[in-house]
Symmetry: D2
Subunit: 201 residues, 4 copies
């Protein structure tokens, strides 16, 4: 296999990329300047170097400090901890513009086929809670997607926390369900209608 075909087959392993887009990526790189290709190679190489997983929130970031810039930010509110499935959900919550608490990246959602929590960092989350309680934590927000996997994950995380912190004054909440921006009643599913009625105000 020559290097073009090898790179195509590597791009095919990227999420959501099929053979044609993989081929287009390689054509794009072939037509790019050597300096852009060099920049690209260096950026990929530096992922293995400067990038590391923050030991507190578990997200990836490139920093020489021990913890990431968010976890070390004293402006964030220690009363709140949002548990999310993946790094990109942090960006989504930040776009909302109102959340000022800390984050913890669980690393995925429960697979419904297996109901297993393999690979999810539930233990690390539990281990981090005592220190967070001391720092003022009062509410853990389970910010998972509004789908069966997200619901199953919320149930498992909730149970695990409740078992460990039965006596503690720790509130466990989930993101509210209802009509998303743009929703028309006519096209809303019964579950969303039900939630929208329950959370009316």
């Amino acid at each position: 296999m020559d290097s073009i075909e090898q790179l195509i087959s590597l791009f095919e392993r990227f999420p959501g990329i099929g053979p044609r887009q993989a081929q287009r990526f390689v054509q794009f790189l072939l037509r790019s300047s050597p300096s852009l290709r060099r920049e690209f190679v260096e950026a990929v190489q530096s992922l293995g170097g400067s990038v590391r997983q923050c030991p507190q929130c578990m997200r990836f970031s490139s920093t020489s400090a021990k913890v990431c810039s968010m976890c070390s930010n004293p402006q964030r509110d220690p009363k709140f901890l949002a548990v999310v499935a993946s790094d990109s959900d942090i960006a989504a919550l930040e776009r909302g513009g109102t959340y000022r608490g800390y984050y913890f990246v669980l690393g995925g959602t429960v697979s419904l086929a297996s109901e297993k929590t393999n690979g999810l960092r539930i233990k690390q989350l539990l281990d981090s809670i005592p220190a967070r309680l001391k720092a003022g934590l009062v509410e853990v927000i389970l910010a998972f997607p509004a789908n069966p996997e997200g619901d199953a994950t919320a149930i498992q995380v909730r149970e695990a926390i409740l078992k460990n912190h039965q006596g503690d004054a720790l509130m466990l909440t989930a993101l509210g369900r209802g009509l998303s921006t743009g929703s028309e009643l006519e096209y809303a599913d019964p579950e969303t209608i039900k939630s929208a009625l329950e959370s009316r105000r």
Copy 2:
């Protein structure tokens, strides 16, 4: 214009129907049995006869009684009145399975271009409230779509009711916003994320 072309052009005036689907409808009717066509004609004709608008909720229904079967149903809860834009929103709320109150069909939403409430039955809604209060009404739920037109309509209806019932113990609520079923955080708009955080529980 022959009768096939005339019927095609009439179907083209139906909501969401273009020339090709209009043609397909006519082909469908041409291939149908004469008895199905007769049944269809009779059903359309009866819209002009037995169908009328309920004077209480303003929805269309076919009944010989004065008010529709929903408004005359003593099992419904008079404490709640859901104000909706159109007849089909009633079906959507009923699909939710939890709402047991009454309805009022406003007949549309405010047009953002004009900000006018022409054609909306705000006056009829206001006129119906005193009798509903006597019957036990405590909450008016503004159940409009989660879009700018729905929001503008809610503002106008809210103001009109507040002006008329300042002293009355009448609660005004709106359907809750948040993640709809199936939403992933990553694709949610900032407004929905904000609402989902506010309405967490």
Copy 3:
């Protein structure tokens, strides 16, 4: 079932119409003027009266004459007969703007599950050919969709005609395959590429 629900369930039998669009159609008719509803009813009723199937091409049209306006048009070229699956394919070929021959509507395509030609008017087509040959017919164009059902139909019609007209100077052709307007090579399937190469010129 009241007349609104009955009309909704009738509209649900229309091709491509689900419960929500059926409901919207009924709301549209409810809000329409009585005169539009009357016009609509009359157009549907006239399908059973003035509309009939042309005994030559088998398409539906409303005329008091024996054969349809196309089959009785002396400007059409008797050398060509296009055999199509349905009435709407006639409109498609006419939009092309170059075909001046006659048509025959077969009434569908072969079902691949059954390989049966039930309901297809192959016998009527065969019966019509002798008179068409006398009138100057030299080419039968099999104008079926470019899919497996269309291909299977072409095979059956071709065989039936060949069996009956082995000695006759009758040409049997099919619509050309190749790149459709807008096609890019990259997204074209191998069969289309192959046809485009074969029919190059």
Copy 4:
């Protein structure tokens, strides 16, 4: 800008990639094994090394030989030369399974805004034709997309070749137009219908 953000912004320059997919690619690489990242880096680096453009067909391939494996393949038929817009169109024609001639990659299509042929290798194509004629070339197939840009490119290439080879017995053809696999007549545009009728057989 840290290395994660830098790599995201580099991926955003890839064709068809927006900020979210760029972020997902970086997450994918972060979660990948160091050996996969190394393999990836080496494949990109080798594009600048072993890969070069074939001086005959102008496509990119990785070879130490002077010309690419296709141009040096004596099994290919020198009677035919397919002129294509880009490298990926070669793959498309090969998928057809019937073309055995040689290729020439023009490097794009004419931009309709400018009608300019800047960057297209029309001169290199012309320069290559005398040697190809000596080797037996009889037909140049203009294999461009079936869109206005492709048509404009075909016109320009055709004119350039005709001007240079007026006396030569060189056939100039284009890929056939017609119904693509899966096309139904009802949805085909008039131009495609017209071509399908013209190229019937």
